[in-house]
């Protein structure tokens, strides 16, 4: 994967999937600079692992595996010296002039709850929220479909409790 055409094709793939890369980086990194570093690390690893892609799996399965593996490894290294920063700084997407304040608040809360999950649960939840099928989630994470279903149900219940507590 070194010709100009291949590079352009790769950049197009990154362009098409940049929201996913952003969301994964945002969920695993609290610090703005770290988020950018992680996004770069994911892109670099996707490029470096280009040879490992085979038709046995969907492109998105391959991409999520690499992105999540890089994010979890990065998170575990970063966490050693991580400093907790205020929530408003973590969530930098919300547009303050937006009329839909309730949805903004829900997005913020969901983002916060996801940030609080353990590394693997976080990966599971991100895949669920991206509307991946249980089958694909099980292939990406390497656990059974039954396990995926059980864990998603448990995490959803936890989130429900947290949302309720927050509202009250």
């Amino acid at each position: 994967m070194n010709s100009e055409a291949e590079k352009k094709q790769f950049l197009q793939l990154i362009e098409d999937n940049k929201r996913i890369i952003f969301k994964i980086s945002n969920s695993y990194c609290q610090n703005k600079n770290d988020r950018e570093d992680l996004a770069q690390e994911i892109i670099y690893n996707l490029w470096k692992s280009g040879h490992s892609f085979n038709d046995e799996y969907k492109f998105s399965t391959w991409m999520y595996r690499i992105a999540l593996n890089v994010a979890i490894s990065f998170y575990r290294k970063e966490k050693r010296t991580a400093i907790r920063i205020p929530f408003d700084d973590v969530f930098d997407v919300a547009d303050k002039s937006d009329e839909n304040k309730e949805m903004d608040e829900n997005i913020k809360q969901l983002q916060t709850f996801i940030n609080e999950l353990k590394e693997l649960d976080k990966a599971l939840m991100l895949l669920y929220l991206e509307s991946k099928s249980y089958n694909e989630i099980s292939e990406i994470l390497g656990i059974s479909e039954t396990n995926v279903a059980t864990k998603i149900s448990r995490i959803k219940n936890n989130l429900k409790e947290k949302f309720t507590t927050k509202k009250n």
């Binding site: 100009e4 590079k7 352009k8 790769f10 950049l11 990154i14 940049k18 929201r19 952003f22 969301k23 996004a39 770069q40 690390e41 892109i43 670099y44 690893n45 490029w47 692992s49 490992s52 892609f53 391959w62 595996r65 690499i66 593996n69 890089v70 979890i72 490894s73 575990r76 010296t81 997407v93 919300a94 547009d95 937006d98 949805m103 829900n106 997005i107 969901l110 983002q111 353990k118 590394e119 693997l120 649960d121 990966a123 669920y128 929220l129 991206e130 990406i140 994470l141 390497g142 656990i143 059974s144 396990n147 059980t150 864990k151 219940n157 989130l159 429900k160 949302f163 309720t164 509202k167």
Partner: protein
């Protein structure tokens, strides 16, 4: 808040990302030039920060072992038997340590990020925990640093400095080295002596890898 709406909230988040200009503003929103720079920067930083340090460690270890082998070859006579045995043992144990280190570097290189998440993370965490084997083995050479200067004739003499100081110190180090070899493991990671011995951010990370392996095990189980 109904959790069935979680995916809808996520979609709204997606939409906001699209609407806001944040993705375009990120420096990692790439163009060709930017990507070329990223490749160079990553290749360079990897070599600088990680590989260079590890390669230097291995290179220094190899030079040290070669020096020890040179000493052994140059002093290989019966009257130097204790020196030769001590230095040979230090060389052998250091070589085993270097071998373990190189093996780790090769295994790290072989990890394929496109494997499933639990497989890759388990391999990485297991590799991190296996780092503990290196000091565990290297401690075994400590008694030989106390014996290399012993003379065979001392064992037949009544030199009090040898019988009451040098030999007991060497025996104490032997006992300590064997004890550490047997006790440096995760069962003892909460003990005070263990925390004093491995009290640095680098080791904390290695120790946390064991917790992560347990987390992965729990995650992989169907029952929750």
């Amino acid at each position: 808040m109904d959790t069935d709406n979680l995916q809808n909230i996520w979609k709204a988040y997606d939409k906001k990302l699209e609407e806001s200009r944040i993705l375009n503003l990120q420096s990692w929103a790439l163009n060709m030039q930017c990507f070329e720079d990223l490749q160079k920067q990553k290749a360079k930083s990897k070599l600088n920060k990680l590989a260079r340090f590890k390669l230097w460690t291995v290179a220094l270890g190899i030079v040290w072992v070669l020096f020890l082998v040179f000493l052994v070859v140059k002093t290989l006579v019966f009257s130097n038997i204790i020196f030769v045995i001590s230095v040979s043992m230090i060389a052998i144990i250091t070589t085993i340590g270097i071998g373990l280190y190189i093996k780790q570097l090769i295994l790290i290189k072989q990890i394929d990020n496109s494997d499933s998440v639990t497989i890759v993370q388990e391999k990485l965490a297991t590799l991190q925990t296996s780092t503990l084997n290196i000091p565990r083995i290297l401690f075994l050479q400590s008694p030989f640093y106390c014996t290399w200067w012993f003379k065979p004739e001392w064992f037949t003499s009544s030199n009090p400095a040898f019988w009451f100081i040098s030999l007991p110190v060497a025996l104490a180090f032997t006992f300590l080295a064997i004890w550490l070899y047997r006790n440096i493991n995760y069962k003892n990671m909460d003990k005070k002596w263990f925390r004093i011995l491995f009290n640095s951010p680098e080791w904390n990370w290695v120790l946390k890898a064991k917790d992560f392996i347990n987390e992965i095990d729990v995650f992989k189980k169907d029952k929750v």
